[in-house]
Amino acid sequence: MRKLLFLVSILFSSTVFPQHAGYTVVADTATFKQQFAAASQKVNTIKSDFVQEKNLSMLSEKITSKGKFWFKKDNMVRMEYNQPFQYLMILNKNDIYIKDGQKENKISTKSNKLFQQINQIMVDCVKGTAFSNKDFSVKVFQNNTGYLIEMSPINKTLKDMFKNINVTVDKKQFAVNSIEMLEISGDNTVITFVNKEINSSLPDALFTH
């Protein structure tokens, strides 16, 4: 009887807390999708600082880097790492520009499918169109203050790289708080956005080089 109770309690707890501690499943994803898309419609620009933590689970290691992030509709992103190294990445529609120390590199996402997919993740997350990305199946969870969008890769290339990509957004503005990329090995990379400014004026020149 005690064993049965134990089994039932495990079953029950795994139903209530399915995958993400503190979050419950959002059953009505259609409504969420509409709300998310509507809120994102109002976001024309985002300016933010970010902290990126790479956690290497087996090594008990955390590598932290910091920088600045800018987004402008439709799909222009600038990520500027400035600690502990200098690295600039600009995504502008179909092109990626990278400045790595003295080296400059331009990549067309049209010719590089992997870059295109990663570019799309980034843009989908900030644009609120994660649901329409065909490379992933998507589930939504919520707690009191925000939503967690769990994106599971469908295609093999991304499946080899990620177990899941979890995006958290706040309930007020549906602005992205963090993006967690979880690898099969248990290692993960979490990018947390802080000091966000929504819809401040950003010149196009920020996204050119």
């Binding site: 990126q52 290497l56 090594l59 290691e61 590598i63 932290t64 190294f85 990445m89 080296k103 590199n105």
Partner: protein, 210 residues
């Protein structure tokens, strides 16, 4: 006939060992142990040029509690390129490597390069010492399956000038470790002579981690 002689000379000089002129030298090869890096934990900004591909990112070298050393290379955004384990007994394990790099010669080359950098016991057996009078450099040599590993110092063994992995005749890889701070080199360079494969590491000291 003259052309034949010239051809033979060219052929002969091309085949001659670049290490033939080194003279046997007395000396204790334990003196180079002081150059063995103390990779308790070191993070490097890393650039790799391989054939026509360029990769850059962060390379972490960490000594684990079981005395093995892990080397993990990922790009700036956190996408991992490879994760290797070098056991204290010389064993080697690939925990992860991206498809594009998952080729036996690439893995073997990286393994051998880092074994020299880490000055693992397995690449430092049956040592001998030679001396180059012309350059006043001392060669601390260790035989390998198909050549030698050389740790090359000034004549007093105060400075590690460079390292070389060689075939029987010429260098295959040239490596440097410079500007040691607390037993960890600030700069590491690995350059292959036979094909375009260069690795440059610059230590990140002002990182804000842990």
């Amino acid at each position: 006939m003259r052309y034949l002689l010239i051809s033979c000379l060219v052929l002969f000089s091309a085949c001659a060992s670049q290490y033939k002129h080194l003279q046997q030298s007395s000396g204790d090869n334990s003196c180079i142990q002081k150059f063995k890096p103390d990779f308790t934990r070191a993070l490097y900004y890393t650039e790799v040029n391989v054939t026509n591909n360029y990769l850059s990112g962060l390379l972490l070298i960490k000594k684990m509690p079981d005395s093995s050393t892990r080397i993990v290379f990922s790009n700036q955004s956190g996408f991992k390129f490879f994760d290797f384990e070098f056991a204290a007994n010389g064993d080697f394990k690939v925990y992860y490597i991206i498809d594009k790099l998952d080729k036996k010669p690439v893995i073997l080359t990286l393994r051998k390069d880092f074994e020299i950098v880490m000055m693992q016991d397995k690449v430092m057996q049956n040592g001998f010492v030679k001396y180059d009078i012309a350059t006043a450099l001392r060669y601390y040599g260790f035989p390998e399956e198909k050549g030698y590993n050389y740790y090359i110092t000034d004549s007093a063994c105060n400075q590690l000038v460079r390292m070389e992995r060689t075939s029987s005749r010429k260098p295959v890889v040239k490596l440097i470790m410079q500007n040691y701070k607390n037993g960890i080199p600030d700069t590491i360079g690995i350059s292959h002579t036979g094909f375009k494969f260069d690795i440059g590491l610059k230590r990140l000291e002002n990182e804000n981690s842990n």
